[in-house]
Amino acid sequence: MTIATWVAERLKEAKDVEDIDVLAGNVIRVSRLKYPPFLAGIVSAPRVERETIQSLVEGKHEIEIIANIPKDSFLTGNALNLARGHEIAAGGFGDLLRVLTRPDVRSFVPAETAFIERGLGQHRRVARFRQLHDRLYQIYLRNDDQSDVVAVMLNEYELTAEHIRAARDRYGPFAIVVKTNPNGHPTKAAFEVAGQLSADVLTWGEFLSHLNSL
């Protein structure tokens, strides 16, 4: 069974779905009860690079969203930029479920991303920011030095030591770990590992305050 077929079988269980057709190896057409059908590109990679999705983005099918199935995976900045440049949404299987009830699939942005970028965009000390990868941001500050800080945004309920280590393996160095999930807490071990990596662990509110001090 291909990954697209597996996704199609799972989506057929959703109440908003009328039918799913697998058009090609990794393209499905989702016919919905309430809104027009849309095409989705399905990929399955631990690290989604530009090259991973290029054939989908630039192919003959008018893809409106690309979904990467592995949960423990990430989308690189290059992949996100390519999708964005073609007005194609990008996310995971959960996001594919979310767009079932949206009239406009292409404009979908994961809620957490929208929240983060709105917050950064409204912060008086932030001159601009760049999404390096899906959860890694480089934030340029309004100060005399025009300095910047790199922060990883983790949405875990309970932020553990292994979350920090895995983020470091995946994204490289960062100065701040921002726990965007307001529920739960970082564990003591998470703080210890972050300290070993010379990174601070902050809640979203603490992070916004911290930017004021930089």
């Binding site: 990954i3 597996w6 959703a14 592995p70 949960k71 423990d72 309970e158 553990t160 564990t187």
Partner: protein, 98 residues
Amino acid sequence: MRSLPRDAFTAPVLDVIAAARVNMPSLRWFLFGSILTSRRPVGDVDLLVIYASDGEPLQVRHHLSAVTTEIPLHVIFMTADEEIETQFIETTGALELP
């Protein structure tokens, strides 16, 4: 005692976990989240693994890689101390796999 029904969604996950556990018998494995309900489809399969040494999460990821490209498996790793600190099992109603 609760048990997880085997269906098209849970079966491959349970099979891979069973195979991984043969190689790492000291770990504790739990399922939690919407997979434990009858609601379908689920966005992902939530798995808690309690480990003892720092290298074990990478080994687990390697063993689970056979299904993670096919099933949206969300694995959270905790030490026993972290689980005690967070009371995660009780809070989430996680089901330990026998």
